[in-house]
């Protein structure tokens, strides 16, 4: 297992370098001088030169690139141009909110999506199957800001079950949970729609295998065949897709946080967009890259946990 983890860690390094390079290129292809964009057209050349120097933009391109890589890999993501605070501490202050939201959504997605997918697969081409497919298609067609707003309209405005916009700091754990319900449900719906679809098709593929027939033939209870023999083998593609969609989940959490006025990476990124805070945007992109690479790594490690064959492969 240790070797497997080490191998995956080593394999993540080139990906990380490539993604960092992409971020560097993206930020550099922007037309115009960021210093002028920040200071405005009326800025004196001296002021522009000073800011260029402060941002390191007066160095040769290769040097900027090397500095950027070195700083990013050593955990220095730079400072916000607006507040002057290190990006890592701005992110650190709110990352827990985004993490809670994403994990809760993932949990909801699995709790709804996996049983529904299994159920649909067992009832292939019957009403239940068609209904599950239609519902999951509708679920993944909703942009999250639309479903989020509909949640607000229904549960907060119509039924008054939840606060519309919770801006006051949550005092108790119960308060925090109460505030998590609607945003997590909004994201969880999308996630469960994706998980239902992939679980269904993975189960359909597995249920036709010989070992399922063998298990039934030797008298293993059907329930155990489904949940133990079949689902365990269908879990690989499901984990793959879940890992891929965590990226989508993180992207969508931005919209969810806006709609529900939650603190998190989303609110930071929107503030950075509005303030044209280039260093902040670059830093956030780097942090997103790290998150994605970590998620991919965790996905790979999950393979090793659920399928012992992987470690030796």
């Amino acid at each position: 297992m240790i070797y497997y983890i080490l191998r995956r860690l080593l394999a993540a390094i080139p990906t990380l370098l490539a993604v960092l390079t992409l971020v560097f290129v993206l930020v550099r292809i922007v037309p115009g001088d960021p210093a002028i964009a920040i200071l405005g057209d009326q800025a004196t050349p001296a002021a522009v030169a000073a800011l260029d120097h402060k941002l390191g933009l007066d160095k040769p391109m290769w040097q900027q690139y090397v500095d950027f890589l070195g700083n990013s890999l050593s955990g220095d993501f730079g400072q916000s141009m607006i507040t002057g605070r290190p990006i890592i501490s701005e992110v650190g202050a709110v990352i827990a909110y985004t993490a809670n939201l994403t994990l809760a959504a993932l949990l909801i997605g699995c709790i709804i999506g996996i049983p529904l997918g299994v159920w649909a697969a067992l009832n292939r081409n019957r009403t239940i199957d068609y209904a599950a497919r239609l519902v999951s298609l509708i679920g993944l067609s909703f942009p999250v800001f639309v479903s989020g707003i509909y949640m607000l309209l229904l549960f907060a405005l119509h039924w008054h079950l939840f606060p519309v916009i919770g801006s006051a700091p949550a005092a108790t754990v119960l308060d925090q949970l109460n505030r998590l319900v609607l945003p997590a449900a909004t994201l969880g719906i999308v996630m469960s729609a994706y998980i239902t679809r992939v679980t269904r098709s993975a189960m359909l593929a597995v249920l036709g295998e010989d070992y399922i027939r063998t298990a039934r033939a030797k008298g293993v209870p059907w329930r155990r065949v489904v949940w133990h023999h079949a689902l365990r083998n269908a879990a690989m593609p499901v984990v793959t897709v879940v890992g891929l969609y965590i990226g989508i989940l993180i992207g969508n959490s931005v919209l969810t946080e806006i709609v529900f006025n939650r603190p998190g990476l989303g609110s930071i990124i929107v503030a950075a967009l509005n303030n044209r805070d280039y260093t902040m945007l670059q830093g956030l992109m780097v942090i997103y890259c790290f998150l994605i690479v970590v998620v991919n790594l965790l996905t790979d490690l999950t393979y090793g946990l659920i399928d012992p064959r992987v470690q030796h492969g």
């Binding site: 490539a18 509708i138 942009p143 800001f145 405005l157 989508i248 919209l255």
Partner: protein, 278 residues
């Protein structure tokens, strides 16, 4: 007529998808004639009117007719989705085909870059690209196309790997055809269907991304009506006028659901192995 009826009976979901898409296209094309009001006509006396006989879906904070704005907004959604995905198909498809055809280290390098693009959350990538370039229609199309290039490169590359070993490619070489001619005249038709199926599914994503960017405020500049920006306005006035946020959402849902249903149907039709499986 008989064939149409049979198609509807055997492919109910796809038919519904076509109907939903046709509805939106008709609304967009006919908007100048069927929209009851000018979409940008402000009528401050009639602001925040709930849905009524005069204003079927109500009015917004400037007294503009919501129905008319939704109809005109369909044009933007369709325009962005079609152009950005067309661009992604042309650019991504070409990259993937050439990469697979050339093979070797070039292929390895190109696909590594595509994997990197693929691993980035598309919404975040689109958001940052539009923010850096400045919010307008062209930049938004560019940003959405950029997020969709990698998947098209992948789907175009995979079949080329086996196609280039086929006899007809060898025959083309023996006849002295150039690589360009072989690739675009002889190989391209073989991968077209797969790419187009993906195109319809990605159009749905493009509509969603466009609406999301507009919702964040990075879309086409106001007062142009877009569904995302209308949702934003409705969201800001959610306590006074809940219908403002409701109707544009339904419009987005109709188009995205329709495109997804058509895409699923096309995929089932082109790939019998997957029929009814996903």
């Amino acid at each position: 007529m008989k064939r149409a009826r049979r198609f509807i009976r055997t492919h109910p979901a796809t038919s519904l998808g076509i109907l939903l898409c046709a509805l939106v296209v008709a609304g967009a094309v006919l908007a100048p004639w069927i929209a009851p009001y000018d979409p940008n006509d402000q009528n401050i006396v009639d602001r925040f009117q709930p849905p009524s006989g005069d204003y079927w879906l109500g009015t917004d904070s400037y007294g503009r007719d919501v129905l008319s704005r939704i109809l005109w907004g369909a044009q933007i959604s369709l325009l962005v989705a079609v152009t950005s995905i067309a661009a992604a198909i042309v650019i991504g498809g070409t990259i993937g085909m050439v990469s697979g055809y050339v093979g070797g280290r070039v292929d390895l390098l190109i696909m590594q870059v595509m994997d990197v693009l693929l691993s980035f959350p598309s919404l975040i990538l689109g958001l940052i690209v539009v923010a850096l370039l400045g919010p307008d229609l062209v930049n938004m199309v560019f940003a959405i196309a950029l997020t969709a290039i990698a998947p098209f490169a992948r789907i175009a590359r995979a079949p080329v790997l086996s196609l280039k070993e086929q006899t007809f490619v060898e025959a083309g070489r023996a006849l002295g055809f150039s690589h360009t001619r072989i690739l675009f005249v002889h190989v391209l038709p073989n991968i077209m269907s797969e790419v187009l199926v993906m195109g319809s599914l990605w159009m749905a994503t493009a509509v969603r991304t466009e609406a999301s960017l507009s919702f964040i405020g990075l879309g086409v500049k106001p007062p142009t009506a877009t569904w995302g920006s209308m949702m934003r306005e409705g969201f800001e006035n959610i306590l006074d006028a809940p219908w403002l946020a409701f109707w544009p959402g339904i419009a987005i849902l109709i188009l995205v659901l329709g495109l997804n249903m058509v895409g699923d149907g096309l995929r089932d039709a082109t790939d019998p192995r997957l029929r009814g499986e996903t």
